[in-house]
Symmetry: C2
Amino acid sequence: MSSLQKKILSMVADDLSDIEKIIYKNLDPYLDIVKQTAEHIFLSGGKRLRPLLVTLCARLCGDDKGLGKRFSAIFEYLHTATLLHDDLVDGATQRRGRDVANTIWGNSTAVLVGDFLLAKSLEIAAEAEDIEIIKVVAHITREMAEGEIFQLLKRGDKNLSLDEYMMIIKGKTGVLIEGSCRTGALIAKADRKQEKALTEYGFNMGMAFQMADDLLDYTSDTASIGKETGADLREGKLTLPVIIARKNAKESDLLFIDKIIEKREFSLKEFEKFVSLLEKYQGIEYTKKCILNHIDKAKKTLDLFGNSRPKETLMLIADYVFERKY
Amino acid sequence: MSSLQKKILSMVADDLSDIEKIIYKNLDPYLDIVKQTAEHIFLSGGKRLRPLLVTLCARLCGDDKGLGKRFSAIFEYLHTATLLHDDLVDGATQRRGRDVANTIWGNSTAVLVGDFLLAKSLEIAAEAEDIEIIKVVAHITREMAEGEIFQLLKRGDKNLSLDEYMMIIKGKTGVLIEGSCRTGALIAKADRKQEKALTEYGFNMGMAFQMADDLLDYTSDTASIGKETGADLREGKLTLPVIIARKNAKESDLLFIDKIIEKREFSLKEFEKFVSLLEKYQGIEYTKKCILNHIDKAKKTLDLFGNSRPKETLMLIADYVFERKY
């Protein structure tokens, strides 16, 4: 664990412990299988980034009653619902080293427990008695579904454009993290300027977060042993490092890159060559620059707010997104 | 078409034509595949019962601006979303003689378009700017998911109790039709008494409608040729006629009934014997009585309202549920 990560964790330890309780308490299903399936994915080691952002953004806007935290489960449930449905869509069998829900309980249960969590997320949102929050949740849910469908349609398309990639990651991660931060502001009855700033903070954090996630598929420690990494490539998902490398590559290298993309299967040696071409043609470097750019934008939106502990934490979390593992 | 059906259709022809336009207009997806998948299921010949009930209940409570109709798409989208997910859960290949969406476009698309419709339903509901309506929609969605999961768990269980069956059909159909009628009242700003009456009307209509649907599996015209009917039996779903017959059957007949339930496969001759046992042991008769009982209750709730055309239509629709095909 890096020193930055340790510092953040020490600043939010109490919040995270409360959020954990809130997530489990709010679930309250009447069927054991729902509890088991949902808890399986809750327990699979997510960082609770979304509920934490709701909590911190609300506090930054003056929430001193823990309202943000109370409603933070909305976004963990929404996130978990999409993970359940996406794992099925992707035909994934593992997530963070654990079997995914659909391989344990079947597709049917994964779909229905996902629906349950979507509904539960909405029920909690309705308790805030603010129609604006409902609009945010509804909008996020629709954009995420459309984004996933678009990604599905574009699977295996080696000509995926930069704009199309941006659209996909916006739907995949951008809108949900944007919505988490915006809802934090709404719950705290922030003024329009503050709401707008935190919406922008969230959007940029979401984009950076997803780009970092996509980059990790080519640069994380496990890359050297070729295990788990390259999953996007196997699923036919083109991400930023590949799109940029394809743009810059000379013909013979492009042929190799495209061959791997089309095959969706590769040896460790081929994967290492693929990664070295991403490096050679600035795919890795450009992606890092993009991440940094979004992080800078995110941090700048916080200029509107005076110094405070929640502001400091939000700044550090932004830095952490860039620092993640690679 | 029966004379009752003709009469109802002539009374609601304009409403149905408006509802049709509203359903297509509100959809407005940015991806063609969403449009195709959703329209495939919209076109598969549903009766638009739910949007019609919203429209009529709102009008009964004084809505003279067509507000009920405007928001009626909420419930058709919600209904369609659950059909998409349920077909996948049931492993169904056909619905009303057409291939289901998941066999044409795959499970992934069916799941994601279902999610899109859920979200869209919510977005429209939010436009009504009434948090009570959101609470109704959220509650319905959760109860439907839990009901489906419960049904899935109980599949093939020949000891399904009457209470468990009631719980399943409440989640499957009761809450959605209840919610449609209640939302009609809410949109028209009806008083609490009227809202309560229409909630009860909807609940009883929903229960009657599902029981009638379950009965049709054993009594419709196609029963004589053994095609399509018996689908519940093949999917391991015990319904009211079977539960009652099992209660009353003498041992040798019970053995035959249970053998068929357990096998989930049967010849036309076996199916005919199965149906004759449902008749012999009052399974069919008892179910008809239950339907009639719910229909009577539904109609009685309308006593609260003075005579009007929407009231007359709601009374006739109640009668129609009992008359359906068998």
